[in-house]
Amino acid sequence: MSGMPKLTAQGPAASRAALLRIADVDCLADCSGVMFIPGAQALVVADLHLEKGSAFAQRGLMLPPYDTQATLAALTRVIAHYAPKLVIALGDSFHDAQAGERLGMESRGELKALASGRDWIWIGGNHDPVIPDGLGELHSSFTLAPTTTGALTFRHEPSPALLNASSAAGEVAGHLHPAARAVTRSGSARRKCFIADGSRCILPAFGAYTGGLSIHDAAFNGLFSEGAIAYLLGRERVYRVAAAQCL
């Protein structure tokens, strides 16, 4: 048996993100799993699922209680890198409606620090239809409605009927936790990924305990045109693979 090739970085640090275009808006798919939109100085992140660990613990599965800490640390790093003026969280930011009660003081402080000095829009998801208590000024930016900035609409669940030709607008969504397996001659690797065609992009889930759903799952049916591209998250860069070639 041979050693497997690894998806590790070869290129310069500048290539940590891949350029993709949604409704003619330039967006960067970052290897951390966030999207950065240079034109709007906006950073978009999906499915943080904060306090997922403690939600499982309530049901008797004592997952390590460090997921919120890990997720916020990763988010802090990427926000420091892009220094966005606006952060859009695409929903399921909190694993459930009681997540705020379980959120530690330290994590609350970190969240507030992250949000200060920039605009922050929390879009509600199916896991967090209301923003949890105790998050102070973060409340004011909570919305259940899709948010539109320029040509792009940001929402939690991708809308089913976007593929009609008349629509010139683009959509950025989360919810589905896309993942794909890239196959090469010498092996294969399964990673979280962005999946996009010219009019829509679905972001990978960002949370430390969020898994991935294959982009060939029925849940993705009808959402993308045939030439859709998967952007697989490597350690230090993003790998661009045609969705049809992924397993």
């Binding site: 004592m62 209680p65 993942a179 430390a208 305990y209 045939e226 049809a244 397993l247």
Partner: protein, 846 residues
């Protein structure tokens, strides 16, 4: 008293009641000495280990004391008298059937029942309320019973436990769980004694300790030993092929005509191979040449259960001439009148092969007949070593285990589900089980904390605790959901991530590029069986593979199903995971090394092999019995380093990962490596030989033991094998559920989350008890670290470096495996043969 009866009584020294003796006589039998001795041990209330070869009446020996006691009515209590535990539920059912004969013919007053996963709920409930005299079951069912509120009522009257195939159970986590269960049974039924039935093992004392309760003062206590005489020695030969022996590969396809001829000459043959993939290939090839239309069937673990049952039934009815099978038929039941065993491929271990050979002729007085068919030249050496080991009666069963902490965590929930307990008493009980006899109180307490709240340094989950300590200091479960979840996740067998293989409507192969995955594939066809997900990981859509004797083309993977269609008239393109799960045993490896280093042994080897070794001696050097031969040579613009540790594929793969890391750090620019059971080769762009000659680094430094330090830790961070190991521990320990009540979670999603949990835990709490459990598994499991460490220590100061101008003869096999997708079929073989010829000519300087 008639003369005959008096004689019978003196024969059995009063141990066997007269009507038992008559029953034996009526069948033309006499009770065997080991059967009588086991009765004597039972009457003395001793724990006992019976070591007996196949066909020695082992099971009847185990039950005779029970039948006698029940018949004599020597019981103070009604209720369960004897518990029989077998690793296979089919074996439990089979033994129950076999017991019916003496019980019916001697008209013995007793009720015998089985309890397996297939037993209907109504009967299980009845068994708890009105237990039979003898219950035959599996380790998992025992754990379930021990964790029920009825455990005390059910087991208090228990007098005997009989554990079948003990040698097979104790080498795994199932053995750990059973050992803990046995300790629990002793606490519930202090009068109980345990009997283990075992095949011949390397160290019987390990099993004897396992069967006896250990004490806190660390005085070792052991069960009594009863040994049956060995049967007629087996007649084992190595196939002396007329064909050219392959350099590499494991399929033994060169020998198919000869294997077929042997099948045709025998009544009923078992053809053992090491992997499912090999079984598929051998089966397909045998049918290709099956001019006599012999009934040859296929049996392996991935086939649909119904199909396996049909094959087994046909064997029993004598309708088959041969079955190509994997280790699924290694154990247990007599599936018919087998008179020949063929082992195609490497034997891997002396005891393993001895047991397979024992599958032929389950009668003691006739010798079993077996043919070993080496698939390549190294396997010739391995087969020779196995035959010598069998002649010497030597065994190489694995060493005894230290009890796993994840299994202990599961057992702690079992204990709590049965009722309140005191940690102090429970600690004494747990450490009375031999695998846990050396468990420290600190580790016990950490495991208890894990079972309760996850045991994290950040005590975030106290209010969610699964088990809690009352004010009286006793532990209890927090709520009934905990028991429910424990029941759903019981046992230590974690299935690999399996995908169902489903036939789908064939699509035109010409027009489906690109569009293959848009839109749903039709999921209309029937399910052919299951296949490990990682088998499919290297396949691209459209690739063909063998499954169930058919060539299938992969269409896609949808949820937990691999959708395939039949590909007619093609050779299968790929067959992932060719090598077996079992690495070459340390013992056989040592024998092979001795044989290699001593040319006087070569006269027993086929001429082609002796010639090969002679060339190696002339062009390079022979690996010694204790040292490590390292060769370096250039080839095709690259530089190679080949080493011959003979420590098995798993340890070699770990060595390859660690060596390439070290070479990378030394700027030796390694590009990749390949390992088999015997050797490892690493290639790169730097002249490795020149670097080693210049002592930059020295060979000693390159192979220094400290590679097991930081390099290892760093690698474990990202190793898929380590993650798989962790996943198993997490599920056994109850950190992750296999099934949620009410909804099945697919293994694919589960794998993802166990990897995430592993990453987070390693970063935040690297010394967590579950990571320690996973590391302990890695020592012996998929990473085989213990063996690698032993090898590195053995070869220290004994490395022989040969810097060569070209590839050596001994390097040919491992070089052939480079970049080679495991292939079968004629076309691929032709390509391979061509490649092999080139390398061979090169090695000879031709």
């Amino acid at each position: 008293m008639t003369l005959a009866r008096a004689k019978a009584k003196s024969d059995s020294e009063g141990l066997l009641p007269a009507h038992f003796t008559r029953w034996f006589a009526a069948r033309g039998w006499r009770a065997r000495p080991h059967q009588l001795e086991l009765i004597a041990r039972a009457q003395a209330r001793e724990n006992a280990l019976l070591i007996a070869p196949t066909g020695a009446g082992k099971t009847l020996a185990g039950f005779l004391p029970t039948l006698i006691e029940l018949d004599a009515g020597r019981r103070n209590l009604a209720g369960l008298h004897t518990l029989y535990i077998s690793p296979l539920k089919a074996l439990a059912v089979d033994v129950a059937r076999n017991l019916e004969t003496p019980v019916a013919e001697m008209n013995l007053p007793m009720r015998i029942e089985t309890r397996t996963g297939d037993t209907p709920a109504s009967r299980r409930q009845r068994q708890r309320r009105h237990p039979p005299d003898i219950l035959l079951t599996t380790p998992e069912q025992l754990a379930l019973l021990l964790g029920s509120a009825d455990a005390e009522y059910l087991f208090a009257p228990l007098r005997r436990v009989v554990i079948d195939e003990l040698h097979a159970i104790v080498t795994s986590k199932r053995g750990d769980l059973l050992a803990l269960g046995l300790a629990r049974l002793r606490a519930l039924a202090p009068a109980m004694t345990a009997v283990g039935l075992s095949a011949t093992v390397r160290d019987g004392d390990e099993l004897r300790r396992w069967l006896a309760p250990q004490t806190a003062d660390h005085r070792i206590s052991m069960a009594s030993l009863v040994t049956a005489p060995a049967g007629a020695s087996a007649h084992i030969s190595m196939l002396d092929t007329r064909e050219r022996l392959p350099w590499a590969g494991h399929g033994a396809l060169h020998a198919m005509q000869e294997i077929y001829a042997a099948i045709a000459a025998a009544r009923m043959t078992l053809v053992f191979v090491n992997t499912r993939a090999q079984a598929e290939a051998v089966f397909q090839q045998l049918w290709r040449i099956n001019d006599g239309n012999l009934a040859i069937a296929l049996h392996h673990g991935s086939l649909d259960a119904g199909q396996r049952r049909r094959v087994e039934a046909a064997m029993v009815e004598g309708k088959l001439r041969a079955v190509v099978c994997t280790s699924t038929l290694d154990l247990g039941i007599d599936w018919g009148d087998v008179d020949l065993v063929i082992n195609a491929g490497a034997p891997k271990g002396a005891s393993r092969i001895a047991q397979r050979i024992g599958r032929a002729n389950h009668r003691l007085d006739e010798s079993s007949r077996a043919i070993l068919v080496p698939a390549n030249r190294f396997e010739v050496l391995e087969c020779r070593a196995a035959i010598d080991a069998a002649a010497a009666g030597e065994q190489d069963t694995p060493a005894a285990r230290e009890g796993a902490l994840d299994v202990l965590a599961q057992h702690m929930l079992c204990r709590a589900c049965a009722g309140v307990f005191s940690a102090d008493e429970f600690f004494l009980e747990v450490t009375s089980a031999e695998p846990y006899a050396r468990l420290t109180r600190k580790d016990f307490d950490s495991t208890l904390a894990f079972a309760a709240t996850g045991g994290y340094a950040l005590a975030a989950y106290d209010r969610f605790a699964k088990i809690k300590r009352n004010r009286d200091g006793l532990w209890r479960i927090a709520n009934p959901r905990v028991a429910q979840s424990w029941r759903m996740n019981i046992g230590t067998i974690i299935e690999a991530e399996m995908l169902k293989v489903r036939l789908t409507r064939a699509r035109s192969a010409k027009t489906n590029d690109g569009a293959r995955y848009t839109g749903m594939l039709t999921r209309s066809g029937r399910v052919l069986g299951e296949i490990e997900e990682y088998f499919l990981e290297t396949l691209a859509p459209g690739d063909t593979f063998l499954f169930g004797g058919e060539i299938l083309a992969l269409q896609g993977i949808v949820e937990n199903e691999a959708l395939v269609n039949r590909a007619h008239g093609e050779s299968p393109k790929r067959l992932p995971m060719q090598a077996g799960k079992f690495p070459l045993s340390t013992y056989l490896a040592a024998r092979v090394r001795r044989m290699l280093s001593d040319p006087s042994c070569w006269q027993h080897l086929p001429e082609q092999v002796a010639e090969w070794l002679e060339l190696q001696r002339r062009f390079s050097a022979l690996p010694g019995a204790q040292n490590l031969l390292v060769e370096t040579f250039p080839r095709g613009g690259k530089f190679y380093l080949t080493a011959y540790p003979f420590e098995g594929r798993l340890a070699h793969q770990t060595l390859g990962m660690l060596l390439t890391r070290r070479m990378e750090r030394l700027h030796m620019r390694p590009q990749g490596f390949t390992a088999n059971d015997y050797a490892i080769t690493i290639w790169g762009l730097d002249d490795i030989g020149a670097r080693l000659r210049a002592g930059n680094p020295s060979t000693g430094a390159l192979f220094a033991q400290d590679m097991l330090g930081d390099d290892l830790e760093e690698w474990l961070d990202e190793s898929a094998l380590m993650k798989r190991t962790f996943r198993n521990c997490a599920m056994i320990a109850g950190l992750l559920e296999r099934r949620f009540p009410g909804k099945e979670k697919t293994a694919r999603q589960m794998t993802m989350s166990s990897d995430l949990v592993f990453d987070v835990l390693r970063r935040h709490e690297p010394d967590h008890i579950l990571l320690r459990a996973a590391r302990a598994d890695a020592m012996t499991g998929l990473l085989d670290l213990a063996r690698l460490a032993a090898m590195l220590s053995r070869i220290e100061g004994r490395i022989m470096h040969k810097d060569l101008e070209r590839i050596s003869p001994l390097a040919v096999p491992v070089m052939l495996e480079i970049g080679r997708e495991p292939v079968y079929g004629e076309a691929q073989d032709a390509v391979l043969a061509e490649a092999a010829k080139d390398l061979w000519n090169e090695a000879r300087g031709a």
